[in-house]
């Protein structure tokens, strides 16, 4: 799998610069006309959202197969409040694309209608939430991207190639994901900050900040910030997508969650104080299997008012390679839940503690996990995030 993650932050910036200069980028035909536009209908033909307009999600808005939603840099999208059937979300169905490519000086913000952030504020270079604390969650749903990548799912229909994404009732067929194309392209997300979401449908059935179901490697996901989502920050189900430069801050559940044999790489990340697991890494659920890599990251496991449930949580059948991760602010009781899973590999995992075995299940030691004080993430690429601007990234 290592051939897939050789995209450096520098290269992606260069790629972005090309995109932003693309002469084909559409121009708002009526600039300044709409300051607030309520969206209630699915997007079934290509559509562009312009930065001078605030888009208000009035429900679960789906970009259906064949359509592309393009969002200009500096656009603010706000979800209305609600829970259960009343939850709002942006759902990119299989075969549809989301082109949400912001810049480090003009990111795209997904947030709640309660957030007073505006395009005008973004123009000043201040990307912090103006009125809501960075621990306010559950005010709307989240961003869900679904693709045709291979998933390892076994459910009541047996070993199946498609299942329903968490948080969307099965009555909405746009919630299906999974297929046979690991090179599938669901679009491009860059410099996107998703805030205050994660409203729930039922216990254990919420919407993650960014849900990635069966996303193929043709998709680009980089420079992402998730702030205070009531469920997981990012959850990935299968597929082969690589994620570069991620901040997951104050997740109500897990900071980063993987399922159904994801085959990609998470490279360069900062995780700050999720309430449940910092990493919730599950194995295949069907016969198909693939291994993922999580590398080059800093994790802060507690703060004054947030303490994570544990550090790294894997199942007996999880296939993952964890490399170059530095975990700080560890409190007694916070542990790595197992080190004996056959397909879990630890390389250069550094815990900022005195006695490392006190933080490993069974009190054992393993070569890949050591005590130390060396950060592993390149945090310079996160200067555009709310977390960095407010000093939450140490």
């Amino acid at each position: 799998m290592k051939t897939f993650f050789q995209i450096s932050a520098f290269a992606s910036l260069a790629a972005f610069a090309l995109t932003s200069c693309d002469p084909a980028t559409p121009v708002d035909p009526n600039p300044g006309d709409n300051t607030n536009k309520i969206i209630t209908e699915n997007i079934t033909v290509n559509e562009t959202w312009y930065s001078d307009t605030t888009y208000q999600l009035g429900g679960r808005i789906t970009v259906t197969a064949g359509a592309t939603l393009t969002i200009q840099p500096g656009t603010v999208i706000k979800g209305e409040a609600g829970t259960g059937a009343n939850a709002t979300a942006l759902l990119i169905a299989r075969g549809a694309k989301l082109m949400a490519v912001g810049t480090a000086s003009m990111p795209i913000i997904f947030t709640t209608v309660a957030d007073e952030i505006s395009h005008e504020q973004l123009m000043t270079g201040d990307f912090k939430g103006p009125n809501l604390d960075p621990n306010v969650s559950g005010l709307w749903g989240g961003v869900i991207i679904l693709g045709n990548g291979i998933i390892s799912a076994s459910n009541s229909a047996g070993d199946v190639s498609e299942v329903q994404i968490e948080g969307i009732p099965t009555s909405d067929a746009n919630g299906l994901y999974g297929g046979s194309d690991n090179t599938d392209n669901s679009g491009h997300l860059s410099y996107v900050s998703i805030r205050h979401g994660g409203t729930n449908i039922g216990a254990g059935n919420e919407i993650n900040g960014l849900s990635l179901g069966g996303i193929g490697s043709g998709t680009t996901i980089e420079n992402i910030e998730i702030v205070s989502n009531q469920d997981d920050g990012v959850e990935v189900w299968g597929g082969m997508i690589n994620i570069t430069n991620l901040v997951s801050w104050n997740a109500g559940d897990d900071a980063f969650d993987t399922d159904q044999a994801w085959g990609g790489t998470l490279d360069n990340f900062v995780i700050i104080t999720p309430l449940d697991h910092c990493f919730e890494l599950d194995g295949p659920e069907g016969s198909y299997t693939a291994s993922h890599t999580i590398k080059n990251g800093n994790v802060q496991a507690s703060s004054d008012d947030h303490t994570s449930h544990d550090l790294i949580n894997t199942d007996a059948n999880t296939p993952v390679s964890l490399e170059h991760i530095y975990i700080t602010d560890i409190k007694p009781g916070q542990i790595i839940n197992r080190v004996d899973a056959p397909a879990v590999f630890f390389t250069d995992i550094v815990l900022n503690v005195d006695t490392v075995q006190n933080f490993i299940k069974g009190g054992v030691t393993v070569p890949g996990i050591t005590a130390g004080t060396t950060p592993k993430a390149n945090t310079s690429v996160f200067s555009w995030t709310w977390a960095a601007q407010s000093g939450a990234i140490k």
């Binding site: 059937a85 309660a114 229909a157 047996g158 409203t199 254990g204 559940d253």
Partner: protein, 965 residues
């Protein structure tokens, strides 16, 4: 239509001043069990020496105190002479049922003399069972009172082939509730539970019941939407004489009553009457899609809105009391002072019955499990996803009243019966929830949940019934209208679950945020029927032609409102007492918890719907004898059924008008069906019959099933999806199940109700409806009703009631009765189901494409030994009841099937009459003597069974007294 009413025979002798007394009785045809109209009743020594029976077969004579001789005669029947009928001053002597024997070919032209008045009150029902061409069975008020059953559901269990599910729902021949039907006074009544097709029988106190009759084979004069059986509850109408009784009983179950660990929660002041006093009402402004939240609302509005919710979120321990049951019944009948133009004396009567019951259930060790298979086909055992273990306390209060008036002349009768039932059930539970992260689709957590529920049900029914007999035309006309309003509300179902980890807090991704639900169900039924029975002669034998029309309109409105507690920012809890959660210090804008509520309700609400249905029916049926031995009923019924729906899906409700779906009184089911029926009875000899029937019936989807409803069960998080949603394997078109039925039965009868029978039956189901687990969903559990291929079943049934007289003369009053039914049901799986099972085939397992029908028990066994003293003053009995393991939930692939396990119910009852005048009845009962558990388990090939649900009802004792006032 005849009403087969067996009225309690109570020969009491209240002393009072006056001169003459009254003699009353009811005259029956011993052959058919039907009442005889116009039989001549003569009594030389009586004041009105000659009279005739009225359209109910009743007669009444006035006589001076002393002994009298009465003769009853009717054309083609042997005359019955009753000697020594004792009359006391100012009292009513009730002779009960008097059966006339038809003159047979031997022409024994003699008067049969009966020295003693028969005290068997079940002639009508027993004869009905023996002689009716349809297969019917039942239990009378007299028998119910003998056994001492308190509610209709307990009494119904005594009827052959009947089992009871969850203490409330009646299953006939082990067929699920979908295939059973319950009517009240022959008229449709709405069920009070939106999840069920039949009514909860536990809400009918036996004080209000005249009899319960079960029909197992369809005849054209009955509604066609039953397959297993049609159970009709007939309420009391008209007493033979002035009655007044008061009963009081109490129960003690060591696990449930006087238990200091009993769980309850702070309810309202009127809970003891079965009403919520407003404690649980929906706060003002909570309806609609926008409620005060920190977004766009001033702080004070958010605070006061949160405070308008009841702050009780936790259960509390409080000692439970003893169960209590009280009943008062009174009634009387009078002869009118004036005679009508035709010289008849009209009769008037009334009956009033009031009952009150309160009972406690406490289940100390309740368990709910969600289990999965392993992916590895060599791993046989099951693994858990979620285990819930805890305690439930529930208190049920039932208030019932029935008031009936009747007026009749010899050939005309009118009655009106008003009934109201009010039931409140308060439930509090506490559970540890253990979720295993290793299981597929699960994240792993530990939580402790407090669940508070209240269910308020009521049913108001008014029956108008008129009957006219036209002897000159040999016609009887009966019409009935019985509108019913039923309401079922679940106000403020609260679930509050702290998640325990490094910190204790509410975690949306684990134990969930605290939630509250309100559910409202209103249903109106307006059934009407008009039936004509005409007697005629066919091949020189009496025959009957029945025809009629009917119409049943039903309307239902259902709505679910859902609210989720949210925290504006982080949480910090100094203690985990749920009753402190809504402490003002935690309510928005107070830091750190800043509680506010978020609504789950769109406007319009996708979980609100209105449905209505109309069944217009017409039938013709004839009952005739082909020869002296063969009697047949041949009928044809037509029903035009139309169901309409007003509702919408989630997409439409959230504003997606283009792609969302919205129906406004749209027709969702429209069918005209013909239901032929043939029932034949062949008398092998005087005491043996052979029966055959072939019928066609129907089972229609319920209102809820034909909808866009998506209903979450707050306790289990299982989600019900209406059938309108389309999936890859489902087109969203749910249709009726049409069933062909065939029955064959041999039976033999002896005296005193002794009998033995063997039956076989076959049923063929096209498009049976089952709840199917939705394959696409694995994070949560979703179900949808779907038509699933074709089903069939074969059954064999043995029934007996025999005295031990054969063993010893002294044991002639000891009876052994029971029935055993074996059913082999088969359904051909859909490809989706078969493939998903196949993909989870374990090594060594062979999966075929058939299985038992869901909800169908492979066997049902009822048995009892009872003893009645010759004077019927004392009875005791031991009764056993069990139903075989039944496929409860069809599991697919990863998820194993769930079977409800047999519950071995063994009960004992004793009743006797005390006092000088025997005016006091004493009842003693013991229930669940085997102390069995109610258990459902997951079953998988070579795996240890794992518990799906388990609770322990415990054994109990009940004692009661009834006084004749």
């Amino acid at each position: 239509m005849r009403t087969f009413i067996a009225i309690a025979l109570l020969i009491s002798s209240l002393s009072s001043f006056g001169q003459s007394g009254t003699i009353r009785g009811i005259v029956l045809d011993s052959e058919s069990g039907e009442t005889i109209i116009g039989a001549a009743v003569t009594c030389a020594t009586c004041e009105n020496g000659n009279t005739a029976t009225d359209l109910d077969g009743n007669f009444s004579l006035k006589a001076a105190p002393g002994a009298h001789v009465i003769e009853i005669s009717y054309f083609t029947f042997q005359t019955l002479r009753l000697a020594g009928v004792q009359v006391n001053s100012n009292e009513v002597t009730v002779l009960g049922e008097l059966a006339l024997n038809p003159e047979d070919n031997l022409k024994l032209d003699e008067v049969l003399i009966v020295a003693e008045v028969q005290r068997n009150n079940e002639i009508a029902l027993l004869t009905l069972k023996k002689k009716s061409t349809a297969m019917v069975d039942g239990i009378s008020a007299a028998r119910i009172s003998q056994i001492g059953d308190a509610t209709a559901v307990e009494a119904a269990k005594r009827v052959t082939g009947v089992t009871v599910e969850g203490g409330k729902y009646v299953y006939i021949r082990g067929l699920g509730d979908r295939y059973s039907k319950t009517t009240l006074n022959g008229m449709d009544i709405p069920g009070l539970d939106p999840d069920k097709n039949t009514i909860q029988m536990d809400i009918f106190p036996t004080d209000l019941v005249s009899n319960i009759v079960v029909s197992k084979s369809f005849t054209a004069d009955q509604p066609a939407d039953f397959t297993g059986g049609l159970l009709n509850i007939e309420t009391k109408a008209f007493p033979d004489k002035k009655i007044a009784s008061f009963s009081l009983s109490t129960s003690y179950n060591p696990a449930m009553n006087l238990n200091t660990n009993y769980l309850t929660y702070q309810g309202g002041k009127l809970d003891f009457l079965g009403f919520d006093d407003g404690t649980r009402r929906l706060p003002a402004g909570a309806r609609g899609s926008s409620i005060p939240t920190p977004i766009f609302y001033p702080n004070s509005e958010v605070t006061s809105f949160v405070q308008s919710f009841n702050p009780t979120l936790g259960a509390m321990k409080q000692m439970s009391l003893m169960d209590l049951s009280m009943g008062y019944s009174t009634g009387n009948q009078w002869e009118g002072k004036k005679t009508t133009k035709s010289g008849e004396t009209p009769k008037m009567g009334f009956v009033l019955s009031l009952s009150y019951k309160s009972n406690y259930n406490f289940y100390n060790d309740v368990f709910y499990g969600e289990y999965q298979r392993y992916i590895d086909p060599a791993a046989y055992e099951l693994r858990y996803a979620t285990k819930q273990q805890g305690q439930i306390g529930e208190k049920s209060t039932l208030l019932g009243g029935i008031l009936g008036f009747a007026y009749k002349t010899n050939l005309k009768k009118f009655r009106m019966t008003l009934m109201h039932l009010q039931n409140g059930e308060s439930r509090a539970g506490q559970f540890w929830i253990d979720n295993d992260a290793e299981a597929v689709g699960q994240s792993g957590y530990l939580a402790f949940s407090n669940n508070l529920e209240y269910n308020q049900r009521s049913l108001t029914n008014i029956l108008f019934n008129g009957t006219t007999v036209k002897p000159e035309k040999n016609v009887e006309i009966d019409w009935r209208v019985a509108p019913t309003l039923s309401l079922s509300t679940d106000p403020d179902i609260r679930k509050t679950a702290f998640t325990y980890g490094t910190d204790t807090f509410f975690s949306a991704g684990a134990g969930g945020n605290p939630s509250r639900i309100w559910r409202y169900l209103q249903e109106v039924n307006v059934p009407f029927r008009y039936d004509v029975t005409k007697k005629y002669t066919f091949l020189d034998e009496p025959a009957k032609l029945l025809y009629g029309v009917g119409n049943a309109f039903k309307f239902r409105h259902y709505e679910i409102l859902f609210y989720d507690m949210q925290f504006f920012g982080g949480q910090s809890w100094s203690d985990d007492d749920p009753n402190q959660v809504l402490n003002p210090a935690n309510i928005y804008p107070n830091y750190p918890n800043r509680i506010y509520y978020q609504t789950g309700n769109n406007d319009p609400n996708p979980n609100e719907y209105s449905s209505n249905s109309n069944t217009a029916s017409a039938y013709v049926s004839t009952e005739f004898s082909l020869n002296l031995r063969t009697k047949a009923t041949l009928g044809l019924r037509a029903e035009h059924y139309i169901q309409r729906y007003t509702g919408r899906d989630q997409a439409y409700a959230s504003g997606n008008i283009t792609n969302g779906k919205n129906l406004t009184n749209d027709v969702v089911l429209n069918s005209l069906d013909l239901f032929p029926s043939l029932n034949v009875i062949y008398s092998l000899n005087e005491s043996q019959n052979l029966r055959f029937s072939a019928t066609r019936t129907i089972a229609r989807p319920s209102f809820k099933e034909l909808s866009f409803a998506q209903i979450i069960d707050p306790l289990t998080n299982r989600i019900f999806n209406g059938s309108f949603f389309q999936y890859a394997a489902w087109d969203g078109q749910l249709v009726e199940t049409r069933i062909n039925n065939a029955d064959l039965r041999w039976e033999t009868f002896w005296d005193r109700g002794q009998m033995f029978s063997i039956s076989g039956f076959f049923k063929d189901f096209s498009d049976p409806i089952e709840m199917v687990r939705i394959a696409e969903q694995q994070t949560s559990t979703e179900f949808q009703p779907r038509n699933v291929g074709r089903g069939s079943m074969f059954g064999a049934e043995v029934e007996w009631n025999a005295s031990f007289a054969g063993l010893s003369e002294s044991m002639e009053n000891l009876f052994f009765n029971g029935n055993v039914t074996f059913i082999d049901s088969r359904i051909t799986m859909s490809d989706v189901e078969f493939n998903s099972r196949k993909s989870y085939e374990r090594i060594g397992q062979t999966i075929t494409n058939t299985r038992a029908m869901a909800g169908q028990s492979p066997y049902v066994l009822n048995g009892g030994v009872s003893y009645t003293t010759p004077e019927s003053q004392t009875n005791f009995g031991v009764y056993y009841n069990v139903k075989g393991p039944t496929l409860q939930i069809v599991g697919l692939g990863l998820f194993p099937d769930v079977y409800s396990q047999p519950f071995h119910s063994l009960n004992f009852s004793f009743t006797t009459k005390l006092g000088k005048e025997k005016g006091i009845s004493l009842k003693l009962r013991a229930s669940n003597l085997l102390n069995d558990d109610v258990l459902s388990v997951y079953k998988s090939y070579q795996a240890t069974d794992k518990i799906y649900s388990r609770y322990m009802p415990g054994w109990g004792l009940n004692g009661g007294l009834a006084f004749q006032l």
